[in-house]
Symmetry: C2
Subunit: 254 residues, 2 copies
C-alpha cells in the first residue's frame, strides 16, 4: 500500500504498533514534510481545509486539528475568509520575533542590523557541538551590531553551518533589509522556528565596551541562542551581548 501521501489507515497505526499516533498528528507530520520540502513556501497559502481533507482522506475537522496545532506553534497563520498561510519572517509582525529586548521608554521603532564582519572558519569544539556538525566542518561567522534609534545596544557573534549558508558574504548582508532571519529564509531557504536562549550576566571587555559605547567592566547580558529549523535541526548558534542601560529583556511566563 502506498503510504507516501495518503494517510495509512488507522489499522496500521493502532495502539499495538509502537509508532502509533492519532490521525491528526500523522497529518500534521505530512504537512510538516510539505513545509520542510518547500512544497509550501513562506508567505504562500496552503490548500484549503477541504482540499487537504480529500488529499489526506480524513474529515475536515481532523485536518483542522492538525492546522490548529501548527498555528499555535507559529508555523502557519490563519486568515479568516482568505486561507491559511505559511508563516514568514518577512511578515512585518514577525520581523524580530525572537528578539526580546525592549526599550525602557516604550519606543517601538524596529532595531537596525549593522553587519560588521563576515568570514569563513572551521567549527571549533563548542560550535560543532551546538550546531550538530563535525569538528572542523565549515562554518560562517558573522558579527553584527543591533541599533535602536541609531544607538548600538547589542553586539552579536553568529555561527552558521557553511553547508547550508553557502554564499553568505558581507555584500549579501549589506544588500539585505529587515532581519537576518528574513534574509536566511528568502535567500537560503532556511526557516527558523524555535530557539533556546541561555542568559548570564558578564562584564564588558575592552572591545565590546567600545562597540557598545559603555565603560569597560559594565555588566551586560550574555545571551547564547541556539536556533532550530524544521525537525529540530540546529542551524544557528549565536552569542549576543546586550547593554541594559536603556533596555531590558522582557520575558512572559505562563
Amino acid at each position: 500500500m502506498d503510504c507516501s501521501e495518503k494517510v495509512c489507515f488507522n489499522m496500521l497505526m493502532r495502539p499495538e504498533s509502537p509508532t502509533f499516533s492519532p490521525l491528526y498528528r500523522q497529518i500534521k507530520n505530512l504537512m510538516l514534510n510539505a513545509l520542510e520540502s518547500a512544497e509550501w513556501r513562506p508567505g504562500q497559502a496552503i490548500p484549503s481545509e477541504q482540499e487537504l481533507a480529500l488529499r489526506f482522506n480524513a474529515s475536515q475537522g481532523t485536518v483542522r486539528k492538525a492546522i490548529d496545532e501548527m498555528a499555535a506553534e507559529n508555523l502557519l497563520v490563519r486568515k479568516q475568509g482568505k486561507g491559511t498561510y505559511v508563516a514568514s519572517h518577512n511578515d512585518p509582525r514577525a520581523l524580530f520575533r525572537f528578539l526580546r529586548l525592549v526599550p525602557v521608554d516604550g519606543d517601538l521603532a524596529h532595531p537596525q542590523s549593522v553587519p560588521l564582519d563576515c568570514w569563513k572558519a572551521k567549527a571549533g569544539n563548542e560550535a560543532a557541538r551546538m550546531l550538530g556538525v563535525e569538528l572542523g566542518a565549515p562554518v560562517t561567522i558573522l558579527r553584527r551590531l543591533l541599533k535602536f534609534a541609531g544607538r548600538p545596544v547589542v553586539i552579536d557573534e553568529i555561527y552558521l553551518p557553511g553547508e547550508i549558508f553557502h554564499g553568505l558574504t558581507m555584500e549579501v548582508l549589506q544588500g539585505a533589509h529587515g532581519s537576518l532571519y528574513s534574509l536566511f529564509e528568502s535567500r537560503f531557504g532556511v526557516r527558523m522556528i524555535r530557539a533556546e536562549e541561555r542568559i548570564r550576566a558578564v562584564a564588558a571587555d575592552r572591545m565590546t565596551s567600545e562597540s557598545l559605547g559603555v565603560a569597560e567592566g559594565t555588566p551586560l547580558l550574555s545571551v547564547e541562542r541556539v536556533t532550530y529549523t524544521y525537525g529540530d535541526r540546529p542551524v544557528e548558534w549565536r552569542r549576543g551581548l546586550y547593554s541594559t542601560a536603556e533596555h531590558y529583556y522582557l520575558n512572559e511566563l505562563s
Copy 2:
C-alpha cells in the same frame, strides 16, 4: 432572563452586539469565574465534560474547546480516564514553574527557599504602580534566599499587597515547605497564573555580594517580576538578583 449561569442564547450575543464572543469563550469565562470564586479549588477535579455541557446548555464539543484553551494556559490539567483538574502550584511538576534558572551541570534537584526577613510597610511610588494599589497602601515585604544544592544563588525582595496576604509572617514562612506560590495558594487562596519578567545586568553591591558569596561588583542578573492572578490582577512584585557563575537563565522562544 437569567444570565448568571446558563449561557445566554446566541441571539443575545450575536455580532450586532458589541460584546459578542463565541459560545465556547462565554463558557470559558463562566469557568474562569468558577475558578476565581473558588468554586473549583486547586488540585480538585472539575465536573466532567458531560456535566458541564448540561450546566452550560451546550454540546460536549463546545465545552471541550473551552477546556482546551484553559489547559493550554496551564489553568487546568487533563488526565485521561480520570477527569480534569484545577492546576496547582502544589503539584510537584509545577513547584517552581516560573523559575527559569538552571544549573550548568544538569543537576535537577529542586532549589530550597530560605526566608530572611519579613515586615510590613506602606507602598512607595514604584510598588504602588506595579501592584495597582494606592500610594501608601499596606504592603508586606519579604526577602529570601534561593539555594541550589545548599549554595545561595538568588536573593529576592518580594512586595505583596497587605490586604490579600494578611497574616503573612516569618513564622508562617518558616513553617512552609515547597515554593512560595504553593504557600500563597494554600494559605491565602491566591493562585499565580502568569508573570512578566524584565531582566537587566547589574553589578553586585556590598550586601548582595555577601549574601550570595560573590565578589563585590560581580555582574548579576536583575530579574524584576510582576505576577498576576485571575483577571490579570497583579498581586506580586519582586526583584531577584541571580548569580550566574554556575547557573543560567533558560528561555525557550517560539
